[in-house]
Symmetry: C2
Amino acid sequence: MTCPRPTVGIVGSGQLARMMIQAAISLDIRIVLLASDPHDAAAQVASNVIVGSPNDPKALAALTSQCDVITFDHELVNPDALAALETAGHRVWPSSSTMALAQNKRRQRQELSTAGFPTPAFENVECLGDLIAFGERRDWRVVVKASSGGYDGRGVWMVGDPDEAKAIWDGAETSGTVLVAEERLPLDLEFAVVLARRPSGEIAVYPPVETVQRDGICHELRVPANPGANLGVYAAEIAREIATRIGMVGIMAIEFFVSRNELYVNELAPRPHNSGHWTIEGAETSQFEQHLRAVLDWPLGNTDLVSEAIVTLNLIGKDAANDPRLRLAEGLGASHAHVHLYGKEARPGRKLGHVTVVDDSIEAAGARARAVRDALFSAPDR
Amino acid sequence: MTCPRPTVGIVGSGQLARMMIQAAISLDIRIVLLASDPHDAAAQVASNVIVGSPNDPKALAALTSQCDVITFDHELVNPDALAALETAGHRVWPSSSTMALAQNKRRQRQELSTAGFPTPAFENVECLGDLIAFGERRDWRVVVKASSGGYDGRGVWMVGDPDEAKAIWDGAETSGTVLVAEERLPLDLEFAVVLARRPSGEIAVYPPVETVQRDGICHELRVPANPGANLGVYAAEIAREIATRIGMVGIMAIEFFVSRNELYVNELAPRPHNSGHWTIEGAETSQFEQHLRAVLDWPLGNTDLVSEAIVTLNLIGKDAANDPRLRLAEGLGASHAHVHLYGKEARPGRKLGHVTVVDDSIEAAGARARAVRDALFSAPDR
């Protein structure tokens, strides 16, 4: 008798793949992981691991040969290689074209703007003169981003004058980095809308989540977010339209800015996302189960909150000596929270885990989550 | 640098081990599994598997050599082998003496009764004459149990007259089964108290759960149970006393009867238990995370309900053609529920998975859970 378990291949082996593996156990979905290192967060907990690079066609072929569908832990995969798999008849979700769009901030901005969605003013700067002219026009309220490869504050620079512009430009030229310049908006609020879409077209949208960022790294999630009722509804509509327009399949997170009561689309990520970690305990269906249901074209789950308020704090590394894994008993004893550790060595700025509390108010949930986070680090992080 | 991950060894590889593995991912606990078959429910999702028998001292030694503590998916392990490990300095939780007690229903009944806890009348029947005399005294309202090895209705027989007694006795004599006879009480309610105890003595008790049994197999869990407020409090006290008295470490489930408004202790299981499956989504801390916290002597988690009502339905196998794995999409589409499949071939009477719904009332939760269960089987199960 053939095994009725569907098999999903995951390219990449960070914490997102790790939490997908955890969710897959309940639905008896077999996971095969393509990991670049057998010690990676997800590889530690996977029962089927192929060690190889996502850009090695042989490794990708080995993965697809034993899977019903492949999906991703990150965007850094060559879209041409994915298109070749699609042509050969393999199911790849999100598709190669969605992955190509997600990798390229220039194209992403251009397509969203052309489609009429509200985006910050931007320009594809091709020389230092372009950047300085853009800066002058925007009173040097400018943020410059690498068009591809950035994450957690990397590949993003605040630029306040021509000297800073020259320094960024020279660095980018040396490394061959393509840049896009954007106006830096005064922010009332940053929030995200996480949704899932399946091939049949069904979409399930989670309530908006406030994302509290510091130095380009998300530190805290608060649900429900309060962008103002109209803006929340508008953002959900935009998210649905984008998902349908780009043929998204799987979980997608769209980050929004609210500036002077106006809504702007910041960027999108076509995969389970940090801004959806609260869903594991805070929503009826976790984003990780939802992603698996979507890529397998199964009915999507309910996205309602399970309580009034949810707060998730990321555990951001300080240095190697401050390792939450060594203080787990203290953390668990400090208050009641759902602690998630990703099995990663502590390094400054690295996401090592997260802590979620479900409670009756953002204040109560936040207080408990902070007590646990502080106890997980030797020194309180305020 | 040494890896700070604690390692827990699990003897046995059924669904309980499978759900422990799933819970261990969040807390970055490394699990090593001793599985008798590499295709077992837990072995499918384990990243570290030793294939061997729990009664092979070499296999047990291989397991303990790489673990900080070992624990169990089932009771069927030789307590002498465990005692030898303890003597050699290994941490074994629950201890060899707790395991010995759990394996032996005669000893269990005797110790609970001697300690003054309310139990049904019982007798260690040593010959057919003993059994017939016990039956006469109890007006043939009698249940006969194998002292060890029974589960899910196996090793339990209702005996209503001398002919039935003789048939059971002859079968037991042939197979060398030791029997205990008990009075069969008219049942108002069956419920269980699940608790965790850690070596330091801390105990955390979950609210009582009603267990709906048919043919000795648990079909449904309802939380909160309503044994009457006094009986619920009394049962929780009894459970605490038993756990302390036997030096329990880990999750323990104690099954209770209510008969004519009186409370009786039925039996205990020193491990995560079917009657605790509702805790995965229905309690602040799942029994599987709680068990791992307890055996590692970490602070225990909160046991509060997350909502007013929780219903869990077991998915009990009918025949090989009725495999919920083949109808998962239909099940997920039927209503919103948390579906757990154990990766087991469908066979009559086998627990293949469970479905949990958290809602505002037992009625509402039960209706949704039944819709999903019915859709997971070809023919409705009423």
